[in-house]
Symmetry: none
Subunit: 251 residues, 2 copies
């Protein structure tokens, strides 16, 4: 069912919601919906309700709440973790914990300082195993969506695909040391509910200088994840925890 | 620059430091350093100095302080993670990641649903190993303090010692499901810089009902850590990341 994020002022006490702005166009013209069709409206507090359309005017859609969805357990921001291939079984840890923490997609990529190289023959088996890990972690954490796990990308492919994202970030150790670096919260403040964010994490040795240059050229902003230097597998967990805190616990 | 934690007795008044023990091996054999190379020495009081090697003997490295570093890498809240004994090597994961994320102290405790029981004979060996883990994680994350790891507590001892803390919290799965639960940020908003916080995390099966009753009697407030159900070893990482985000990145 199509999902819309509706400002709190558009919800009335008597179980009605009025939809305005671009969403009206989307509901009427793009989705070609009509009276009696159902959509999901999500309140900024993270709760979601199944709603039935009762009236459509030229610039408004009026809906009635049919019932509140049991829980809103999905992170209201779609986060993709692009992870420079780390050593040993760290990727599995990232997939399992990252799923619990609400990630939407994982893209492992071959970074120039990645020590591991993927054997293409074994890649299919690995992806199968990874999908099992995220499925089980989704079930365990009571999520309603299972994250996607992509097969390993080249750095160039990662850059190309990053164009599809609303917000592009990369964890950069130099930012941790810089007092001038932008606070993570200033970046989160600019993200709107429902947007897609890609967070790019380097492997053990960090990003190479030419990778940093390219990331910046492709519109990635450097971020610091607190003042301490985190291991490669800890960085995505800090990022996901803090984005969850910001959007799910900070109101 | 490589970082070493040096006992206070090894620092002399005249700006010299003598390095002994395992660190000598690390400096000379692992890092292959020589006279005139620089390292960072951290004093137990939390201050760190850039030091230059002036002499290397068979079992000692002598360095001169070049200058003291100005840095604030320690979490401005003193967080103790009280962790119900988890299975397998999860405690080691919590110690390593929790150190990177800024924890001040770890208290493993025997919860009624802990499957593992500590063999008292092996406890000393374990604590020795745990201290090695937190020391290495402190160095790697460029912290200026090494967290304390306590030997395993009984639940009663944990309750008694909790009286020393300014703020007492426990992660409670029921809160995750409750719409009435207090937002984590409301609790963080009440914490003042420099205060001590103890966050109590249950083992795999969560807290038993009588434990919940006792925690509340002793003034612990239940908190939710986002809307998803986290594994026992993920909960302290979410807690530490979000408290770091709140106090180090949110201004």
């Amino acid at each position: 069912m199509q999902r819309y994020f509706i400002s709190s002022s558009n919800w009335s006490e008597d179980g009605k919601v009025v939809i305005t702005g671009d969403d009206v166009h989307h509901i009427v013209r793009v989705m070609r919906m009509d009276v009696d069709d159902e959509i999901i409206c999500t309140h900024p507090n993270g709760e979601a309700a199944i709603c039935k359309i009762i009236e459509i005017s030229s610039d408004k859609v009026f809906v009635n709440i049919v019932n509140w969805k049991e829980e809103q357990v999905e992170l209201p921001i779609h986060v993709t973790i692009a992870q420079g291939l780390p050593k040993a079984d760290k990727l599995e840890l990232i997939l399992q914990k990252g799923t619990e923490l609400g990630a939407n997609k994982f893209i492992p990529f071959q970074a120039s300082r990645s020590i591991v190289k993927w054997d293409q023959k074994k890649a299919d088996k690995k992806i199968e195993r990874f999908n099992k890990i995220v499925k089980e972690a989704s079930e365990q954490s009571h999520r309603t969506r299972i994250p996607h796990v992509k097969s390993v990308y080249s750095f160039q492919k990662l850059l190309e695909e990053s164009k599809d994202y609303d917000v592009k970030l990369f964890a950069f150790e130099e930012e941790t040391r810089s007092k001038q670096s932008e606070k993570l919260s200033h970046i989160f403040d600019e993200i709107k509910l429902g947007q897609s964010v890609i967070a790019c994490i380097g492997p053990e040795g960090g990003f190479a200088l030419d990778e940093v240059t390219l990331l910046k050229e492709y519109g990635f902003s450097p971020v610091r994840l607190g003042p301490r230097i985190l291991r490669t597998e800890t960085a995505p967990l800090y990022f996901l925890s803090s984005i969850s805190y910001h959007f799910e616990e900070l109101r």
